[in-house]
């Protein structure tokens, strides 16, 4: 009897049970995708104006290491909440604030005041004092932060690790005439 029917009552119930499970699982799981994707935010959500301190710690004509606490710091971050950057003071009000991360693969670039070069210890990227690419594997110059001077302090717009995916706030190396090669 039952084996003659194309779909037996029990199999129909199993199918309905499976569908029921599927619906409940989807209803519970789909919102959880949002939980997993929650770190993805618009760039503006990860940027904030932060002070690097008084202007007088950055002598004119020199490049100095500065650091700031990440504006979105959490207790478990420990030391990694800190981020270093290179501040170059061109004149009283004119600055360049370079990210520490090499534009190649993010290693920390080091400033050599004697030869006025930034060198990267990982794959040998080298940049001029103005952040323009000098040699090595980087495709572009150093990443820079936007800055402003407020009440005698230098503020930068930072909070996110600069990478190539993050092009909008970046300077391009081509055609500025800044590099000794070009000018």
């Amino acid at each position: 009897m039952s084996e003659e029917k194309p779909v037996s009552r029990r199999w129909l119930l199993v199918a309905v049970g499976t569908a029921f499970n599927g619906i409940v699982a989807a209803a519970v799981a789909v919102p959880v995708i949002g939980y997993l994707l929650s770190p993805i935010k618009k760039k503006s959500a990860y940027l904030k104006w932060i002070s690097l301190g008084k202007l007088d710690q950055f002598p004119e004509g020199q490049t100095r290491l500065a650091s700031f606490e990440n504006p979105f710091e959490r207790p478990q971050d420990g030391e990694t909440a800190k981020t270093p950057c290179w501040v170059r003071r061109l004149s009283a009000e004119q600055f360049q604030v370079f990210a520490i991360n090499c534009a190649h693969l993010g290693c920390p670039v080091r400033w050599f005041p004697q030869s006025e070069l930034f060198m990267c210890p990982c794959h040998g990227g080298v940049y001029y004092a103005d952040g323009a690419r000098a040699s090595g594997p980087p495709e572009r110059g150093l990443f820079t932060y936007d800055y402003k001077v407020v009440n005698g302090e230098l503020h930068i717009n930072a909070g996110q690790m600069p990478t190539l995916a993050d092009q909008a706030k970046l300077v391009t190396i081509a055609g500025k005439g800044k590099s000794p090669c070009l000018g």
């Binding site: 650091s67 670039v109 070069l117 040998g124």
Partner: protein, 490 residues
């Protein structure tokens, strides 16, 4: 009936495991597969077990928090009884595991074991290799020292090169805008739950298939694999000239696994645990980050790629490589298994192995990186300036002070980024030296803006002295001609 036997029967009656276990251990394998070449898979499994046990023991103490991780490793290394040893076993166990998995894969490839009907076993194996490498990378992150921090930076920078979704991938990888506590937490979940969970599941399936399909027969030239006859042939082989897996084949597995475990322990005792290196304080920028041994080849490749090829290569080559490995058994599922009849396959394997070896070797001494402290730590060999004029000596000072030494070696010390300068005067004339210093080029920065004319003169004078004794300096042929033309006139 003894008491032990009764106890056994009590459990067996309820568990019913005797039948399947007997099937598994006594299944016949071809006599010639009871070989020392067939021990790597079981050794990899043993190492996986070692990693799980040592990993769990480390988790008793390790704190997966950006603020605490480094200190908890310090405690393991220095303050807890045998903490250092467990860390060393886990670290060396991971090295051995990657190595043994790779050797296992080469052996399987060489013996044609991926062919019908073992295609899926190979495909699962490819995923297991990727997960083993994933474990190695995530494990390096859990060390959460300077290398881990900047290694994550490299990972994020690679991700950022993916078109369109690069930024989102970086956020996902880091768990936020920067490398911080959230990053470590998610790598902990990957290293401790997600990847090992899948790896265990895949390992069980992999071994299940090995038992069900039988171990690959020893490849014989001329014994061709065909889909319609292979199963019959294999059945005959194992039943006419077969031996039971236990004990005939197993004892070699046991010996090798024990030897591998002993080797891990010896390395652990002799070389100790890996790091942690400096604290993960990003403001300590005087650091030279370097990946662990098994990623050195990648580190080298990333240094040598021309900038324009870098993004396409990083994003496309791994995909192609993995697809090729996955497609291999589907495209070459039949035919010869013997290495005597598969010259292309063997050449390919040797080429890949030699390439990996060379890149890894280069990665150990990174000739592409400037040596950041060479300018202040490697002296100019005194004999070079013994008879030098004051200007030439001043040039040697400029040479050191302007960090030329970071990229150029003289007397065998200094960077290898640029050419060694011991014979530069033989290669370049004065004019060429001046041009090269001021304008750079050929992967050298231009120094025109930060050398004064006297510094440039002194530096070039010094460089002109750098030639092996008895070799003539480079000459400008046109100037020589001009001189010759001018000579008779006055």
């Amino acid at each position: 009936m003894s008491r032990i036997k009764r106890l056994y029967n009590w459990f067996e009656m309820r568990l019913q495991l005797e039948g399947p276990v007997k099937d598994a251990v006594l299944h016949p394998v071809p006599r010639n597969t009871a070989s020392w070449f067939y021990v790597f898979g079981s050794a990899a499994t043993t190492l996986l077990m070692l990693q799980i046990v040592t990993g769990i023991l480390l988790a008793f103490v390790y704190v997966p928090s950006g603020a605490e991780a480094w200190r908890s490793l310090d405690e393991l290394n220095n303050h807890l009884y045998l903490g250092w040893f467990l860390r060393a076993m886990h670290g060396w166990g991971s090295n051995f595991m990657v190595a043994v998995v790779l050797i296992h894969m080469c052996q399987v490839f060489t013996f044609g074991a991926y062919k019908f009907p073992r295609e899926l076993t190979w495909i699962l194996g490819v995923f297991m290799l990727l997960m083993t490498l994933g474990m190695a990378f995530t494990g390096q992150v859990l060390r959460f020292d300077q290398d881990a921090y900047w290694g994550l930076g490299i990972g994020a920078s690679i991700m950022s090169r993916v078109p369109l979704v690069g930024g989102a991938l970086v956020d996902l990888l880091l768990g936020g805008p920067i490398i911080a506590g959230a990053t470590l937490s998610r790598f902990f979940a990957l290293h401790v739950f997600i990847i090992p969970g899948i790896l265990l599941l895949f390992t069980a399936t992999h071994i299940w298939m090995v038992i069900k399909l039988g171990i690959n027969d020893w490849p014989m030239p001329g014994r061709i694999v065909r889909r319609d006859t292979y199963l019959q042939e294999y059945h005959e082989l194992t039943h006419k000239d077969g031996v039971p897996f236990v004990p005939d084949a197993l004892w070699k597995d046991m010996f090798f696994s024990a030897a591998v475990l002993a080797a891990v322990a010896v390395c652990a005792v002799v070389f100790g645990p890996y790091g942690p290196s400096g604290q993960p304080d990003p403001t300590i920028v005087n650091t030279v980050p370097k990946p662990d041994f098994f990623f050195l080849w990648l580190y080298a490749v990333l240094a040598y790629l021309p900038p324009s090829l870098e993004t396409p290569f990083i994003l496309i080559a791994p995909v192609l490589g993995i697809c090729a490995l996955l497609a291999l058994p589907l495209l070459a599922g039949e035919g010869e298994k013997s290495w005597h009849r598969r010259p292309v396959a063997i050449l390919l394997l040797v080429t890949v192995a030699v390439s990996f070896g060379i890149f890894t070797h280069l990665g150990t001494f990174t000739p592409w990186s400037p040596i950041m402290d060479a300018w202040s730590s490697d002296p100019v060999p005194p004999k070079l300036i013994h008879d030098a004029t004051p200007v030439e000596r001043q040039g040697a000072v400029v040479f050191q002070a302007k960090q030329c030494r970071n990229c150029h070696s003289i007397g065998g010390s200094g960077g290898m980024r640029g050419p060694a300068l011991d014979d530069v005067a033989v290669r370049l004339t004065e004019d060429q030296l001046i041009r090269q210093v001021l304008q750079g080029g050929g992967n050298m920065p231009a120094y025109g803006k930060n050398l004064t004319p006297p510094e440039t003169t002194a530096l070039v004078r010094f460089l002109e002295t750098l030639k092996p004794p008895g070799r003539r300096p480079a000459i400008d042929a046109t100037q020589q001609e001009q001189k010759a033309l001018n000579a008779p006139q006055p």
